[in-house]
Every structure is written in C-alpha cells, then in structure tokens.
Amino acid sequence: MSAQIAVPNRSDHREAVRPPSAPNGGPPVRPAAARVSFWLGVVAALLAAVVPFVVSDYDLFNLSRVAAVAIGVASLNLLTGFSGQVSLGQGAIFGIGGYAAMMSMRFIEMPAWAALLVAIAVGGVVGLVIGLPATRMGGFNLGLLTIVIAALFPVLLYRFSDFTGGQAGVTLSAPALPSPTEALTDAQWLYLVVLALLLATIAFLNRLVGRRTGRALSLIRAGRILAVSSGVDTHLVKLQLFVISSMIAAFGGAIFAFVLGLVVPESYPLIFSITILVASVVGGSRSWVGAILGAALVVYLPSITSSVIPGEASAYLAQLVFAVVLGVCVIVAPNGIAGGIRRLAIWMRRRSRARRSPRTAPTASPMPETTPDREEPR
C-alpha cells in the first residue's frame, strides 16, 4: 500500500497541468484583470485598516489573534498546499517562535523587532533539524514525525521549566509593541502592525510560489519522478520549503505571543497543532485568503458557538457544532472555503452569462469542483 503514498494519483497530474499558482498568486497573465484584483485586494486591506477605528479593543484583540494565527496557517499552506507535505507539527514550531521572541525580550531585553528576527532564526534552525529527516519521508511517516514533535513540545516546556518558566511561562511586564503615538491605543497599534506583517508575509509567500520555486513545487506535488526528470532536486527544494515554512511559522508564533502578552505551555497542546492543519485545509490550503479564513474560523467559531448555545452541556454542544461545521466544509469544499467561494463565483458568473447567450448553455452546468477526483469508483 505504500504505493498509494508514493505514486502520485492521476488527478494530481491533471492538477499539475494548471498554472502552478492557480489560486491567488502567480505571475499576472492578464494585466488588466490582474490590476482589478490587485486594487480589490488593496481595498480589502484598506478596509481591514479602517477596522481599528470602528470596533472595540476587545474585537481588535481577537482580530489580531486571527491575523497572527493566519501567518501560522499560511506557513502550513506553503507546505501542504504547495508542496504536498502534510505537517501536524506546525503548532509546535509556532510555539517555539513565541518562546524565542518572548525570552529574548524578557531575558536579553531585546527590542521587539530584534526578537522577531530571533524567532525567525530559531524557527529556521528548528525547521532544518526537523526538515532533514522529514523531507525524506512522505505522507504517513511525515504525519507521525510531526505529530510527535507537537505532542512532545509542551512536555519539554514543562521539563525544562528553569529555562522556559514552566507553567508560568514567560510574560512581559509591558506590551511588546506599545503604541508610539497618543492617537492610537496599544490595541489599535498592535492590530495595525500585525495586519501589516500578515500582508507582508502573504506578499512574500505569494512571490515565492509564483516564481521558479513555484514551478518546481507543482512538479514535486505532481510526483517525484516527474520532478526529478525535469531536473529538480526534490529533497533540496522540499527542505528549503520546510525551513522557510518553519521560519514563517515561528514568526507568526512570535506575533501571537506579542498579541497575547505571554507564552505558556498550555497554549501549544497537540490539539493546537492539529487545529492549524484544520484551519489550513478548511480555509483552503492553496490560497492565502484561505489561510485568513481558516484562522478566523478556528479562532472565532468555538467562542461564537459556545456563547450562542446556552444550557448545561453547552460547551460540548458547541464543540459538536464546531466539528460538524468543519466536517461539512471538508466535504462540501474539498479545496477549502476559499476554493468553494471561487468555484461559486465562477459558477454564478457563468450562469449569468449563459442567461445572456443561451448558446453557451452546456458549459453552464455547475460542475462540482471535485469531479476530476470522483472518477475513481468508490
């Protein structure tokens, strides 16, 4: 059965035929249309930038959490969505970044920006150490290795409590990113900084997968043999990606720690790492917007469901609702919410066009996006 992991599926081949950066990135093919999307992106970013002047600090705190988690999810998208490696340990690396940043600020009294750099560096080193064996494994093995790392991380935090602060973790006595002006509260400033960092991260990732690496990546996803025959050193590319992904995860983790104002072991249980994967898949692992949507879902949905559902067993009912929502997402939109929305938009557009010119009617039928995958009789 190992063949099932190693040998790429036919539909993977088909996917590889698409341009490598299909969802949201990639070299602009149609300048005019690309410009429209670019400006819409700018509008969205501006809207997000207006938010802090409209909503309360409490909401800003949650939005900042979403943005920080989104960076972690985006880093996993780079792995899962763009190089086909499913990691369950991203939460641990996220946590390592948080610890690295907080400890350098607390104990070496670094400025916040330097602490972020330290987090990125530590993330890179950890990524290299894990990546060396990990990139030689596929599917199931990689899943196990990373799940082990995620499971051991909190244990190690307790074990080396002299170093990590144990249960009390590492706290800062003042906000990590205090507002430089009177005009903005700390929460507003923090939100704006985190938002800017999120956008910068996505821009960086988008460039990364849109370029040569992106093409190498789609070859790797399509299958090792194909990639090797195209002259791509798959191990090296995968390792590079693993390291970059770890650096970004650690970066996101550092920001998350800044938002929360502390790091404690309980923030990074195994289930947190798993949640990051869930966010990636449910949001859409091949889309950067999907990373944001996925992060928003896993941050907001549990709180919303548990506050909406009253009664004695509300917490577990909320958990059940959360699980059902996720399950429905996975089944209804296998390419994530972002993929689902995209598909819906295309379908609506085609339907409206079909109404205008009935001759093109045959193409207007809504094709479920999974059809290519469904030919396999089940």
Binding site: A22, P23, N24, V29, R30, A33, V36, S37, L40, A44, L47, A48, V51, V54, V55, S56, D57, Y58, D59, F61, L63, V66, V155, Y158, R159, S161, G166, Q167, A168, G169, T171, F256, L260, L262, V264, P265, E266, S267, P269, I271, F272, V289, I292, L293, A296, Y300, S303, S306, S307, A315, Y316, A318, Q319, A338, I341, R342, R343, L344, A345, I346
Partner: protein, 406 residues
Amino acid sequence: MNQQKRIRGRVATIAVAAVAMLALAGCTPRAAAGDSAVADDAPIVIGASWPQSGPLGSVAPGLSGLEAAIAAANEAGGVDGHEITLVTADDAYDPSRLVENERKFVEQDGAIAVVNFGGISIAGREYLGQKNVMGVSMAGNSPLSDVEAFPMQRAFWPDVSWEAQLQGKWLTENKPDAVVGYIGFNNDLTESHLAGLAEQGIVPAQVAAVAPGTADLSAQISQFQAAGVDTVIFNIGAPTGGSTLAYMQQIGWKPTVLLSSTVSDFHTVINLAGPEAVKDAYSFEFFKDPSDPRYADDEVIAQYTADMEASGHDADVSNALALEGYGLGAALIDALSRAESYDSEGLLTAWDSFDSTENPMLRDGITLDASAHGRVVFQYQLSRFDGTSWTDEGDIQDVRDLGIVD
C-alpha cells in the same frame, strides 16, 4: 477566458474575505470602556472563564457550583439590592481563550472580578493588573501566590507546597524511614509539591511524573516495588490516580498512601479505584466531599444540595468540585456583602479582610482567612479513609502555626 474567470474568482474571494472579516469582528462599536463602578441599582457583574470542554472538561462542575451559589444569593435579594450577574464562558483550558474571555468580561460586560480555574489563570494576571480588575483562581499552583507582582490576582485554593510540607512533616514524625515514591503530573504542581516535601527533608526515592492522560502505570509500579518503596504520595487526578490505586490493590501491594486533598474525593479517585483500594489512605483535607456518607445529614451540604437543585444542576451535586465552586461563590458574596463599594477595589479589600470567615465548602472548624499570599485557606484536617468515609485523625492543623507559612 479561463484566466479571466480565475481572476474574477480571485476577486470575489478577496471581496468576500474582506466582508467576512468585518462581519466576524462582531462589530462592537468603539466606545469609551465601561466604567467598572456600579450604579445604585445596577447588577454587579462577575465573569467566570472556566474549562467546560477540552483537556480539563471534567472540572466543569466547579462552575455549576459557582452558578448555584450566585443564583441562591440573587434569590435572597442579591447584595444590598444589587443583583449579581455571573457571565460565563468556556475557555477549554486554552490560555488564549481565557484571555479573550477576560477581555470580554472586562471590556464589554463591565465585570468587576474574573473567576477561573487552574494553572492557566496565570495567563490572565497581567491583563487584569493593567485593567485593575480582581481575579480569583481556583488553583493551587505556587506562582499564583505572587501577589507582589500581580496585586489583583488571588487564589482560592491553598498553595500545593503547603500541603506537601504537611505531608513531609507527618512522614518525618510518623514514618521517618519511609522510602517514598511520588506520582504526579509532569508540570509545576509536581515541582511545587516536591519542593514542599524537600523543605521538610523528604526526598522521594522514586518520582513518576507522567503526562496527563497516561493511565497505565504498571511499569512505574513495578519500578517502585523494586526500589523498595513503602509510601506512595499521589498528586494526580483522574483517571490516573484511581486506576493506579486499583492496580495496586489488585496486585496486592499495600504501601502507605498519601493522597493530595484535591485528588482525594469520590468523583476523582475513590469511585474509580473502588473504596477497598483507597482504604487506609491518608489525606490532608480542607473541603468537604458531598459524596462522603459522613455528610449525609450535614445542614450546610443540605443547603448546598437544595441550591444546586434549584439552579438546575442536579447532576453535579455529588461532585466535590461543585461544592468547591459553590464555596467560591459564597466567598465572593460574603466579600461583596462587606464591601464598601461594589467595584474591583471594594471587592478586593473585602476579600483581603476575611477573618475566620465560615464557608460552606470547608470542613468543620476550618475558616477563611486573608493573608499576604493572596490565599485564604490555611487549615487542614488529617483524614484517613476507612473504606467508606474519610475520618478525622487528630486536630486541625494550621500551616501558619506550624511555621510552614508566615
């Protein structure tokens, strides 16, 4: 055309995402943060962020007890005509959700105090300090005694290291040659506990610090036996403590067993281990266990049971954690009733003036007293399990009198 479609799809995605982000914000309009001072007849708001699901979902009954106590107080007319509003939220034992909940309580609900459970309360201290809102945690973790650095944070349970010192003292006096084995979780509770034992000159020969969820300790028990352990200290909750005691019973190994107070109740340990397996175990206790038959006719417990049933929490009545939550609620109401102002400061001052204050959860003869440690319980009753019930051994011991705490 395909490209164009794809790009339009992309546009739509971004637009929808932008809208979604705004919608998700819940859109609480930006306004001046609510003043925590309470108007004459306005309700007093207390927030409770409690694990109701997640790894510590089994402590949820504590919240039921808290709710029952508050509901009973409101039924009796509230505090000086003020109704008490208890706002609750599940934190699933996740620090970031705890902080989120605390922010909501403080910024949106205008809570004057925040109550929560367990070690993750540490995550909220900093924020509560900034906002000058009182926090009370039901936790024995030593870091929560740091009132100097976090002046708004109080803890309801005593520090685990105190009880550890009592155990150490007891061992030195009664079993000076004991070969001690210790079983606890691999976290700071174990560290504090071992530090407390060391303070009294007891260094366990064997320590099994296991990850939560580990239940099969047969290999550790074999190791203990081989090392000649004759006294085992348990500071481990469900399910590990109970199943390990049951295993020891089955293989016929009967060392002296010391159970930590918070893991000595029927729900956590005895029901799982079976009463025979716990027989002759010792524990330094401070709270009552509503499941213990000795309290079947206890008036305070009867009142507690009535209040639990009145607030619809029948299912949790027998759980000691529910009684402890009820006790916490009673302590808050007690403090409020003596508070000069119904805000954080007033509540905190009143909390810090507990003096031989009675509380429904406490063993007879034990009272709440304020202290510089931010903790309120100092007295313990050494108890032995006789196979059906915990029986008192000797007098109530006060860690302050014994020089364990100054």
